[in-house]
């Protein structure tokens, strides 16, 4: 048998041609058949015809052959492809196993970097996850500003075709006591009877509210979350019908929510455990007083809509807008009146906020990934250099360059996939730790840190793939694109010499420094912004101060009873041993730290200040120094609503300069809404600025009887100045003497309170410092690696220089110079990127502007961080560069 391989080779060269193959095969058969017929004595024409006749339908046969042939061909190509991939992968693993140092460094880098990105993504994923335990959450929408209850009634009537509506108030604390136990503050939420029906949630036990049973003025009932039922009622199967004492009223439990349900997101981290209908009589919650359900002037309710199929946010917004125009007292008002946002996610976000989130974290992830790619890319190039001879030989004996590139990229893909697994494991570990710390503390947090799901895993592997291409492709192309003759002759380093200064490797270093710089700066801005912003110096000595809160309205006292009790508390507590002075305030000292109150100053204009109401003796009690003027003390106000009077106020130095510039503030008038005030004193009193750094202007105004009768969510704070600590028991017995119903909450010392306020800053520090440190370490390692490589590459040159009389310092300078030049250019680029990013973020987000703004414009920081960075980078260069100075010319020249 005479098989000729040439045909096969020929066929490979042109690619398979199935149609002609089949044709030729059949043709051959016909000829052979005809020949054999002719041998039997047939005439040539006849024989040919007979042979074709025996074949039947030749066309159909040809068609069938092509179909089968094409299938075979396709399968063959696929098999070849996969066997190549398999081979490359095996080869990649072998290569990595042979350099465990490099492999473990790379995988560690990838694990940290990819893990970091996965954690960021998992948080976003958790925040934007659909609301738990609510069917079809994507059809929920919420109005971005609260409205009066009657408006909700209107929207409910007219828009019925387009949506189902419900209203609810912001979460508020309730004093809850169980049978025979002390009371506790539990977050609850007042909802309209349609609430659960709108959410389409069904009770796990008992029933929910409905418009038939829950009518205005009816006795209060309560629905509790599954978490409350499990942790406080010990999963009592007979919980329905049990009674809780809530704010002094006895309230039967109506139903238990399904597991995981915590209402709809309200944008705050506090989530309710109790649901109480707004139709309950006002005794249960001070928020319901003053006939709030019928007043058009109290925008206290959030409007929740479940849009019917076919209604979009935009069309609903348009309808609401038209409706609102009728309701508004000033219908001429321009612009959109109703703003809706989707409410189907754990953290509901208006589209702008979502954009900020994406930009910020997107930039962070990109910087981290860029850093990893540049770092590992540089290393891969170095490894490619180490293998140059192998590659050059393979290229020169005819290896396909595409195939070689693919092989090298497969190697990085193997690394990246291993790194991806390690990264996912890192993320899971981080979340496990978080969960252990935060177990069951807050259902919303539970969702946020529920950890990686398949989406996160998908994201992780997607970015691993990107990283593989990022750090594998460019080195592979560079290494395989070299002039093989040069490489064989003199080694890769000489092959690269032509583009030494702007070579691809230097580009990697610059890119790496740039990404690291961006990371370090952004992390630095945030960390240092948060740290300095929350610097706690209230302007007075906090040590002797302690305080607690009471909320007699929530304990069931009526308005006048409440005011009376609050008037008597300071008097009675002042008699306790060791107590110097006691006062009241509408919140802990220096807690009002956002300039959120508009005041108008005659002949100056409108300003925003933080506004705190305080009782008599407040300045003495906290020990705030009066810089000018006198203490304002007007005990009569605690019995008088002060209407029509001009009330005295104290302002801090910041407010003095903010409101009156250089003029004398004493005696000046200030208008806040309807109320007129007169400045009586300038005091040293500095609220902590949790994030921001700028000192806040504050006005301290006297509490009036109105304030005492209606407390806000924080209740009323009782501030005590004492040099020996006052026991809770003593305080409790004094309060019991005033009214046994009053309970105290949040007892704290001032130093405790201040350090707790600091916690946000420490949390921010804890989350962003690792990012910055990661960037710094990676950049330094990368730099050190590349410099070491440079030294090796120029060993001969340096050897010659030294042999010709160059001093060792010169050699050091030569190597360091190159490194420093790269570091500086990368640092400048990174600085530009970071400050550009900071500016964009500050422009679109006020909180970001508060955090980043002051830090980003602080010359100490903007110069300090880069200088520190460059210093570290220089050290990273110096260590290997020192080796250059110690090169022995004899040894260096003998090599090669």
């Amino acid at each position: 048998m005479n098989l000729n391989r040439m045909w096969r080779r020929y066929d490979r060269l042109l690619g398979a041609d199935v149609a002609s193959d089949i044709n030729q095969e059949l043709r051959f058969h016909i000829e052979a058949k005809a020949e054999s017929l002719m041998a039997q004595g047939w005439a040539e024409d006849e024989a040919r015809k007979e042979a074709e006749r025996q074949f039947g339908n030749l066309g159909a046969l040809q068609g069938e052959g092509e179909r089968i042939g094409n299938r075979i061909e396709r399968r063959k190509r696929l098999r070849e492809y996969w066997s190549d991939v398999l081979q490359d992968t095996r080869y990649g693993f072998r290569k990595l196993a042979r350099s465990p140092g490099f492999a473990s460094f790379a995988i560690l880098t990838l694990a940290l970097g990819i893990g970091l990105c996965s954690v960021i993504f998992a948080f976003l994923n958790g925040a934007l996850a659909p609301l738990p335990a609510v069917p079809e959450p994507e059809r929920l929408a919420i109005m971005q500003a609260p409205i009066p209850y009657p408006w909700f009634k209107t929207y409910q009537g007219d828009g019925y075709a387009a949506w189902k509506a419900a209203a609810f108030m912001s979460p508020a604390p309730f004093n809850v006591s169980f049978e025979g136990e002390g009371s506790e503050r539990v977050t609850g939420i007042l909802v309209s009877p349609e609430y659960f029906e709108t959410l389409a949630v069904h009770p796990q036990l008992g029933r929910f509210f409905n418009t038939r049973s829950e009518r205005e003025g009816s006795a209060p009932v309560v629905v509790v979350t599954e978490r409350f039922w499990r942790t406080r009622l010990h999963s009592d199967p007979h919980a329905v019908g049990r009674r809780l004492r809530i704010n002094g009223s006895v309230v039967p439990i109506l139903g238990v929510c399904p597991r995981g349900f915590f209402g709809t997101g309200t944008g705050s981290l506090s989530v309710p455990d109790l649901f109480i209908p707004v139709t309950s009589n006002a005794a249960i919650a001070p928020e319901l007083r003053d006939n709030v359900l019928h007043r058009n002037t109290q925008p206290a309710f959030w409007l929740l809509l479940r849009l019917k199929p076919g209604t979009t946010i935009a069309t609903a917004e348009a309808q609401l807008d038209a409706e609102t125009r009728h309701l508004q007292t000033r219908p001429q008002q321009k612009g959109k009146l109703a703003h809706l946002m989707p409410d189907g996610t754990v953290m509901p976000l208006p589209p702008e906020a979502r954009a900020i989130l994406y930009i910020f974290y997107g930039a962070l992830v990109l910087a981290v990934l860029g850093l990893i790619c540049a770092n590992l890319g540089g290393l891969m190039l170095a490894r490619g250099a180490a293998r140059f001879k192998e590659i050059a030989i393979r290229l020169s004996i005819g290896a396909n360059r595409f195939r070689l590139v693919r092989q090298l990229v497969t190697e990085s893909a193997v690394l990246a996939i291993l790194g991806g697994f390690a990264g996912l494991a890192t993320a899971i570990l981080i979340f496990r730790l978080l969960r252990r710390v935060q177990a069951d503390s807050n259902p919303l947090l539970d969702v946020l840190i529920s950890g990686p799901d398949f989406k996160v895993a998908l994201f992780t592997f997607a970015i691993s793939g990107l990283v593989a291409i990022g750090f594998g492709l460019i080195p592979a192309i560079v290494v395989t694109g070299l002039d093989t003759a040069d490489v064989m002759k003199a080694g890769l380093f000489n092959g690269l010499r032509g583009h030494r200064r702007f070579g691809i490797r230097n580009l990697f270093v610059v890119g790496q420094v740039m990404a690291a710089m961006t990371l370090v700066l952004i992390a630095g801005f945030i960390v240092i912004g948060a740290q300095t912003g929350s610097k706690v110096d209230p302007g007075f000595d906090s040590a002797p101060i302690s305080f607690f809160s009471v909320d007699p309205t929530r304990d069931g006292l009526t308005g006048p009873e409440c005011a009376e009790a609050l008037r008597r508390i300071p008097e009675r507590l002042a008699r306790l041993g060791g107590v110097e002075s006691v006062s009241l305030a509408d919140g802990p000292p220096v807690s009002k730290s956002t300039p959120d109150t508009k005041v108008s100053v005659p002949s100056i204009g409108d300003r925003s200040v933080a506004f705190q109401r305080v009782g008599p003796n407040f300045l003495t009690t906290v020990g705030a120094a009066i810089l000018r003027g006198t203490d304002f003390e007007d005990r009569t106000l605690l019995m008088d609503d002060g209407s029509g009077k001009v009330l005295p106020i104290a302002i801090n130095q910041v407010a003095a300069t903010d409101l009156f510039q250089s003029e004398d503030p004493l005696g000046r008038r200030i208008q806040v809404g309807e109320q007129a005030y007169q400045v009586a004193a300038v005091v040293r009193y500095l609220p902590m600025t949790i994030l921001g750094g700028h000192a806040v202007p504050v006005i301290l105004a006297p509490l009036t009887v109105n304030d005492l009768q209606r407390s806000d969510i924080e209740g009323t704070t009782v501030v005590i100045r004492a040099y020996t600590p006052v026991g809770i028991a003593a305080i409790n017995s004094e309060l019991a003497a005033i009214d046994p119903r009053i309970t105290i909450f949040h007892p704290q010392t001032m130093p405790e309170y201040l350090s707790e306020q600091d916690r946000l800053a420490s949390m921010i520090t804890a989350s962003y410092t690792p990012i910055g440190v990661f960037g710094l370490i990676l950049a330094c390692l990368g730099l050190a690696g590349v410099t070491a490589q440079t030294v090796q590459r120029r060993q001969k040159e340096i050897g010659i220089r030294i042999a010709l009389g160059a001093r060792r310092m010169d050699a050091l300078r030569l190597v360091m110079g190159e490194g420093i030049a790269m570091v500086l250019s990368g640092a400048v680029l990174g600085f530009l990127v970071a400050s550009g990013l900071a500016r964009i973020l500050a422009a679109i987000s006020a909180p970001m502007a508060q955090v980043i703004g002051p830090a980003a414009s602080d010359p100490g920081l903007t110069l300090g961080i880069p200088s520190f960075f460059v210093l570290l980078a220089a050290i990273a260069c110096y260590v290997p560069a020192r080796h250059a100075a110690s090169i022995n010319p004899l040894v260096a020249l003998r090599e090669e």
């Binding site: 048998m1 098989l3 000729n4 193959d21 095969e25 051959f28 058969h29 052979a32 046969l61």
Partner: protein, 121 residues
């Protein structure tokens, strides 16, 4: 019996093709000749059935084709038995022998001593 009318039983064509290639690569024409000669002209293989069967066997991986030169120096496609094809042939052969023996045995049966109906009862 008219030899040309003898049709291939389902499945037997494949095993005969595999058998033809057992001593070395053959082209399509040689396979028809082989089967005809070996069966003393009893089995006449139609070209319209042979080629699709060959291609199917190739796509199943039982045969592998290569271009080569025929006895009279013409370009022809040769089919070679793969390892998988060889295993298949062995298996099919055993099955066929068992089957054929069983069928012949039944067909050669004589009348049993007792009527069948009694046994059923």
């Amino acid at each position: 019996m008219d030899a040309t009318k003898l049709e291939f039983l389902r499945g037997t064509l494949d095993v005969l093709i595999l058998k033809s290639c057992v001593w070395g690569p053959l082209h399509g024409y040689a396979i028809t000749s082989f089967i005809r000669e070996q069966s003393d002209d009893a089995l006449l293989l139609e070209e319209g059935t042979l080629y699709p069967a060959l291609w199917r066997l190739e796509s199943k991986g039982l045969l592998q084709s290569d271009w080569g030169l025929s006895e009279n120096n013409r370009k022809a496609k040769f089919y070679r038995l793969t390892a998988k094809g060889r295993r298949q042939l062995q298996q099919e052969t055993t099955t066929w022998h068992t089957y054929a023996a069983a069928v012949s045995k039944v067909l050669a049966a004589e009348q049993p001593n007792r009527p069948l109906a009694e046994e059923i009862r």
